[in-house]
Amino acid sequence: MSASQFYLPEGLPAPAPAPDGLDKPYWEGVQGNKLIVQRCKACKTFQWGPEWLCHKCHSFDIGWEEVAPNGVIYSWERAWHPVHPALKEHGPYIVVLVELPHAGNIRMIGNLLGDPRQEIKIGSKLDAVFEHHAGSKMPYTLVHWRVSK
């Protein structure tokens, strides 16, 4: 994949798994086009972002579960002012907060693909799009979203 195929220009901070191993399953999952999130083995509560224990029952036996890579727009923003050198002359770009109703209504952040000036509606259904940065020194994958057809 060439740089031009990435939603945002290269040079922003790249995500890396936490050194303590906490979120390794997530970052490995997305490299394989899978959305894997925390779900407590004891009480079945979904949880995001990653924690060492379940906030509901305090079990440390947290499992990871693959969930369908879709959701709905819970909130959004369109960023115009560049606050990083990599974003100079770029923009606007859209960030969405995506809710996963089938996974305990956990939320995650991503970019909304398509026209950066498009009209955005809270509640719109979205599908995840995995953006692989395989050529990076430490390969990683970002999870973006596209309005469902």
């Binding site: 901070p13 790249a14 798994p17 936490a18 909130s75 959004w76 002012h81 960030v95 430490m138």
Partner: protein, 393 residues
């Protein structure tokens, strides 16, 4: 246990600040700014700075009280307190800490201060520039959510969506602040009025914030001094009694990756009732409100969560005419605040709240007896405080 309250036990008896500068404009280092503001507050109170025996600050202020105490020759340091949490969320919380220390005899004369030299240490409005990031930030920075504005815009979008509050309320907050700054010679925006047209025509920073919805970036320092109510009686300034000061956050407000359950709030739903209960006042008793503006949208949420109007009333209540000191129903940010006086991380809002009680604000509300501050909307923890004049005790 009875009488577990801060109400009426302490008072602010001095306020001070340095010249307020545009970011990078300070000729002094941040440490020098901190010390100058503290000395100014001591002079205002009529006390010898060597008699200060405690410090409270927040947001990881870089100026260590032990170092300040050494520089000022303070006789004995008894209290040195830093509140966790970023942003200005703990401005009023630092007042609570200082008041609690004085009320319980831990210390006798505590300074609350905040110093910022963004020129020396980096701008708040710029994103971090590391090559890689792990932990909670790994789920936001790579998507271009890098600055405070970008962190909080999403909460405001959701709030507007859920409640039907209009962005016209944002504009009213901004115009009122700039209006007040025109009467305040300390204000960075003194002599630089903002018109309705200029507000509307300003560029987007990140929707739903335009340029004048965002706080400034500044250099400077501010400080205030808290002593016991008993001691305050004999000091030179009219005391601003601490009627209430509380801090905190709701259930899982700090859940990572924007997973706070009460997402469309400014973090005050638990604080506001506790504050009013401690202070023994109601929103209608408040004569002037200083409400922390990281962004105007957070101010609107703070005002609603503190019960000054409902979501349904917000569009008709939060107007420019209602928010100015000259006849408004809820005089708001009467020094110009973070938007137009100086972004001193909200400590300038607290000194202004004191001035309203003393009667020496540049936008004085007539006979102000109850003066309130809300610190740090949308961050966790947040905090609020209420000062009162002698007759409110």
């Amino acid at each position: 246990m009875t009488n577990r309250t801060l109400r009426g036990k302490t008072a602010v008896v001095g306020v001070g600040e340095t010249t307020y500068y545009k970011r990078s404009g300070s000729p002094d280092s941040e440490f020098v700014l901190a010390v100058k503001a503290i000395l100014a507050a001591c002079q205002d109170a009529g006390i010898d700075a060597r008699d200060v025996d405690g410090f409270a600050s927040y947001s990881n202020d870089r100026n260590d009280p032990s170092r300040i105490a050494a520089a000022l020759g303070i006789r004995e340091l008894k209290f040195s307190n830093m509140q966790w949490g970023g942003g200005g969320g703990h401005g009023s919380g630092a007042v609570a800490s200082a008041a609690a220390a004085v009320a319980t005899g831990v210390a006798d004369c505590v300074v609350v201060f905040r110093a910022l030299a963004q020129g020396q240490f980096g701008r708040f409005g710029q994103g971090p520039k590391m090559a890689a990031i792990s932990g909670d930030a790994a789920y936001s920075l790579p998507y271009g959510v890098l600055s405070a504005a970008q962190m909080f815009a999403m909460r405001c979008t959701r709030h507007l969506h859920e409640t039907g509050v209009s962005r016209d309320t944002y504009k009213a907050v901004s115009l009122a602040a700039y209006h007040h700054a025109q009467n305040n010679p300390r204000a960075v925006m003194y002599g630089r009025p903002l018109t309705s047209e200029a507000y509307d025509d300003a560029r987007w920073i990140v929707e739903p914030y335009q340029l004048y919805d965002c706080c400034m970036e500044n250099d400077g320092a501010a400080a205030l001094i808290i002593v016991s109510a008993e001691r305050a009686k004999d000091m030179k300034n009219k005391p601003a009694y601490v009627l209430g000061a509380v801090a905190g956050s709701e259930y899982r407000n700090g859940a990572p990756c924007h997973n706070a359950p009460l997402y469309a709030t400014s973090s005050f739903t638990g604080i506001a009732p506790r504050l009013y209960e401690m202070a023994g006042v109601k929103p209608k008793d408040v004569d002037a409100l200083q409400s922390y503006e990281n962004f105007t949208g957070g101010v609107v949420m703070s005002i609603i969560e503190h019960g000054f109007c409902s979501h349904e009333e917000a569009n008709s209540f939060l107007t420019y005419d209602n928010l100015i000191a000259q006849g408004g129903k809820l005089p708001l940010n009467t020094s110009g605040g973070n938007l137009a006086e100086c972004y001193m991380h909200g400590l300038e809002l607290i000194t202004e709240a004191v001035r309203q009680i003393r009667g020496d604000s540049s936008n004085q509300v007539k006979n102000a007896k109850v003066s309130m501050i809300t610190s740090g909307p949308m961050v966790t923890p947040a905090s609020s405080a209420i000062f009162g004049s002698l007759e409110t005790l």
